[in-house]
Symmetry: none
Subunit: 190 residues, 4 copies
DNA sequence: CATGAATGAGTATTCATTCAT
DNA sequence: GATGAATGAATACTCATTCAT
């Protein structure tokens, strides 16, 4: 289904690629997009050249990081949506997205890009996620578990915003739980 | 309270300073912190040298911008808190902060800094705001208008997060209103 | 007559600009376009930043160098054409162009650009030169001093080529003189 | 005459080598020396490793390309010199060299290297060519077909320069023919 | 032998900040 | 005080060359 047939990639090359992605995810998340490519490469234990061989552009690296994130989220959403009843499914999905999206928000906000001028690779993952969310939202609304006047745009905005909220409470899980209560309460039909 | 006696500043110098602050606010808000100092200076109609005379560092400029914002917010909060009944006061303040904090979030998030390692100048404004918010929150809780299990940290986090949410809905005022309903609903004791 | 009104430029700035042009002319001519910008700046006694302030691009620097060269040539051509009889004018112009065009030919060949996709700034100078050459050629042909079957394209090609020839004989002025004889002889109607 | 005994080279290795030479000739000629080795390898259908096995250096590849060119020219010269009368031989050789030397001149100019600091491999071919040219020149001069005051250096310079001239007239064969007339006329004793 | 992944020095360009005019 | 020219550290990206597979 995916376009270009990707050749298997030598074992060590794959390891390098993975390490680069891990490092990039880490630094982009915690320190923002300003981190020098060279540092990312060094931290991953490779030369800059290697980084640029795998990701021809810093932007491409960022994109790859995001795609991986989105794919993880997508898989999670699909799992939840498949097994849980509408009500639970909706709130479970909301939690999942928020928890997976925490981190330096300059980066997180990429989710925003949904629907905007995202690069091709991202578009697919984004679209899939949006579809999932739209479905669970509709399901929950049909089941009377969520206010009927909210559309997907509000949902996505709320996901992003709640992620930002959580970021502020990074050190206090109990407080985060209270925030979930607040938001979930607010989402239910009054 | 501040150390050095601040000399009155010549009329044109004051005008320049103000123009710089206006321009900086505008560009930081809409285009983020990456905008070159030179461009800010040019847009304000002065040379870079002048910019650096008024604000010895780009960071200092940012700080000044934020202080002004915070002062505005503070004034607003004080006004509301003084005149409205607890319930109304709380939600009014919430609205005010969120609406004043919208804009490029990389920047807005400076509000976050509240309580962290902010620079001296900010600390004062921040503290005042935090005090105000703490008070209206307590008042509203005493009046039974807000869940009693929320503390100032959660409130602040929620303010930041709701700001982020609103940013996503920049073009749709009606949707933003619905978000306020959701959050306010969630904040009330169930 | 020239487009943008160029402000006078501070004395030292003008000096730097001139030095940069001189250095660039020198190195481009003797060592080709591969010379690092940083080296050019250092040789001119300024920082890279200064170089890029005056010439926003390496290409822009090259262009400026060429424009200056072409302007010099143009002035020379005009002088000769105005005072000498057709025969002498033509051969004098030929000499002038060849002598001014010597140097690393990768660079010289810019003259070639005449008529191609040159940048705006060059186009003007190039066009003026081409016009001059076309005129002296026609004059000389009318006067029976040059074969009538040659057009401006052949003349220009021959100028470039003769420049290349001379480059090979950099150390031997007498040999160069003989080459002029050969070419001039060949240009006369048999 | 050459030191190391050259092993016959496996059939496919030989094919690769040849393909690399062909591709390199093509790209160096049409696009200059800046073309990345990797692209050359890819175009030839081999990996970079293979390229560097055959030619330990990019420069070595360039050298090999030139040697082949020079060998071709040499063979041509020998053929002409052996069969034609002095007059014809000289002008035929001139034509041959010029026509074979056309192409991106940054590259062509390698011919220049004749007599300079060329690498060993080139020196041999260059020397042979120079010898041939010296001979046909002397022959033609003895036969009164060429000005007696020209030596091999002028001849070589003229060959290079005429090549450059021709490059400018790449699209116009008739013009090129006129250039030959001009140069040949000039070469004859007045 | 062939492959292509890895390397890292090298290069153009940007931008906060300083300082002579 | 104001100006804008000068500075140079920093950064993304390229490419010849090496070496593990």
């Amino acid at each position: 289904m995916s376009g270009a047939q990707e050749r298997p990639l030598r074992a060590d090359a794959a390891r390098n690629r993975a390490r680069l992605l891990d490092v990039a995810t880490e630094v982009f998340t915690t320190r923002g997009l300003g981190v020098p490519t060279e540092e990312i490469a060094r931290t991953a234990g490779v030369g800059v050249g290697t980084l640029f061989r795998h990701f021809p552009t810093k932007e491409a690296l960022l994109e790859a990081v995001m795609v991986r994130r989105l794919e993880t989220i997508k898989a999670g959403l699909v799992g939840i949506a498949a097994t849980a009843p509408p009500d639970e499914a909706f709130f479970g999905c909301f939690r999942l997205v928020v928890e997976q999206s925490m981190g330096k928000n300059e980066f997180t906000r990429a989710l925003t890009a949904v629907g905007v001028d995202v690069h091709e690779a991202l578009r697919e993952s984004s679209a899939a996620i949006q579809t999932q969310l739209t479905e669970v939202l509709a399901g929950a609304q049909r089941a009377g578990a969520v206010r009927p006047d909210l559309g997907p745009p509000e949902l996505i905005a709320l996901l992003v915003g709640t992620g930002a909220t959580m970021e502020q409470l990074a050190g206090d899980p109990a407080a985060r739980e209270r925030i979930f209560e607040v938001v979930f309460d607010g989402l239910r039909p009054r």
